[in-house]
Symmetry: none
Subunit: 196 residues, 4 copies
């Protein structure tokens, strides 16, 4: 079924164009015409692949987060316990030059999620998956005696998650005050507190 493969790759092409645009100019820069032109495809065809602008944006966000999700899973396999968490957060939550684009898209998405139901749903779905992963790693750490047995892994996962969300936010907005080095130090300092 070659047609279907083609169809999906066209969607990707548009999605990636959308991500580049949002990263460059924000949601204001995300016009259907700009997406088509950035993707090097025709304007009209965009509407064959996405039924609306929101549809396109959600697809784009899914595309952009799926890579991060993939990485989360990889780290869960390669490392374990706190080590995995540290690697994960330093690789993922950190905002540096190379991940700035994704962070901006993510912030735009959060903003959408605060107001529009479909985006909110998608956000809930995404973070509950990530929280599960974090919790699982904490459980590993607990069973390996890395952290205090008394801790609630769910609660600590939530704490870790909000911490990491805050680092991502400030890293994006204040690269001067929160450069990658500082972000990293914030992460390790927090994990050290857990390590006990």
């Amino acid at each position: 079924m070659p047609k279907i493969v083609d169809h999906e790759s066209q969607r990707c092409r548009f999605a990636e164009a959308a991500i580049r645009l949002v990263a460059r100019e924000g949601l204001e820069g995300l016009t259907m015409r700009a997406v088509a032109s950035e993707a090097g495809l025709s304007y009209g065809s965009l509407f064959h692949y996405f039924e609306s602008k929101d549809d396109l944006l959600m697809h784009a966000v899914r595309h952009s987060t799926s890579q991060q999700t993939r990485r989360v899973n990889e780290f869960s396999l390669k490392f374990s316990g706190l080590k995995a968490l540290e690697q994960l957060m330093c690789d993922d939550a950190l905002v540096d030059e190379s991940s700035r684009e994704d962070s901006l898209v993510w912030l735009a998405f959060l903003y959408k999620a605060a107001l529009k139901e479909p985006f909110a749903e998608m956000h809930a779905e995404l973070i509950s998956g990530w929280l599960d992963r974090i919790e699982a790693l904490l459980e590993e750490a607990r069973s390996e005696g890395e952290i205090n047995q008394a801790l609630s892994t769910r609660f600590e996962a939530m704490a870790l998650w909000v911490y990491s969300a805050g680092i991502g936010q400030q890293g994006l907005l204040h690269p001067v005050m929160f450069p990658p080095r500082v972000q990293k130090k914030l992460i390790t300092a927090y994990l050290d507190k857990l390590r006990k």
Copy 2:
């Protein structure tokens, strides 16, 4: 003699209308026409008080944050050390029904700050003021022996700040998973880790 009106109070009236609108419908809903109508004043008059939409939005954000800043200062006077911090963060960073509006405006503002210079500047200015306050309270706490003498108060202030920013973000986006009660627990748990 001109019609006697209080220039500043008219600006407030518009600013508050803008806040209500952003909270209700996001930046998309923040049209100059909607603001005028929400404020119960004429469209044209809006432009006597603000020279542009950005100007209005920045004023609105300042209006919305100035109350929080005022509270920060109050708590600094009434309490001291970790106690003040706890009161402050529980009162301020917490997103509940009553502060949801301001949090939404804040998120919209963060989004703007990521993309437009004047908003970024204003954001930098706001958070550096808050960071200073947090640091001062941590210094109090240290000198009173509440926390480890070896801690860097600047670094801990930054950690506390990103944590609180993350709580605010998730409290807004996931009131179900992060209700005020949970937000509070996250805060106290973190301060307990500091308290040592």
Copy 3:
């Protein structure tokens, strides 16, 4: 395949509508909405064909002058020397009922050219072409012995040009004092002075 329309002919349609509007109501009457409606097309489509109002106006002026330029060239072929000049100026510089529209557009254009760079450039380009033509005809006239050999053809071309510009201006503004008959007499009287 896209809807088949001739891009250039649509531009003409808008340009002609613009000319009618300027002639009827001046630049004040030249609103994008009025142009669309005068052209019998939708408002939005105007912006597919012209990227701004200035762009439209410049195109309209080019459209309106291109016919005159064409005539200049024709006369240069059919006649020669002073005869050609006389035919040319009587046909071209003369403001009568039928050319009043173009003259009004031209005056509006001059006004724009005095203030906005792109219009000024276009004006310079147009008149330098016309000056060249006039000069060429004067050279013909000189080589045929119609005019004094000692005359500078460039200088006389400039004199002829400002004279003709003045006639056009007054013919437009004072049709009563400068009717076509008088305009014609002014032209022939001047050429007679040259003829010597």
Copy 4:
């Protein structure tokens, strides 16, 4: 009656501000608010002195031309015949750095005169006065034997007038091609042709 003097001087102040504005930015820059601010007077008061924007503009043009008219009259007294004409046109029609402002205002006025009745009337009135002056000087010249007795002074006055109008126009629009020196040469060359 001191009040009346005051009244007239305020009108002048506004009129001069209007002229500066038109010269600087064209009719588009001529907003009532800008005029008030340029004049250093209050916005509301503008409407006590002029009943509309057109009223103000016409007053401003009258103000700007009255000085030229005064000069025309002076020259008529000081000189006579062609000498007076030459002095007059070199002083008046010439567009140089210092008269560029007035020329721009004049062009804006012509543009208005082509479309709006009151401006057209005023224009007719102004030029018929000037034509009379030119004719009178030509009559002097004729009676002094400076020019051919057979010439119609009315017709030659009209010719001279359109020539001078053309020089003024091109001098304004093409200071490079028609610098003051060239304008002057055009004038003297024309008068030489008359002189016979």
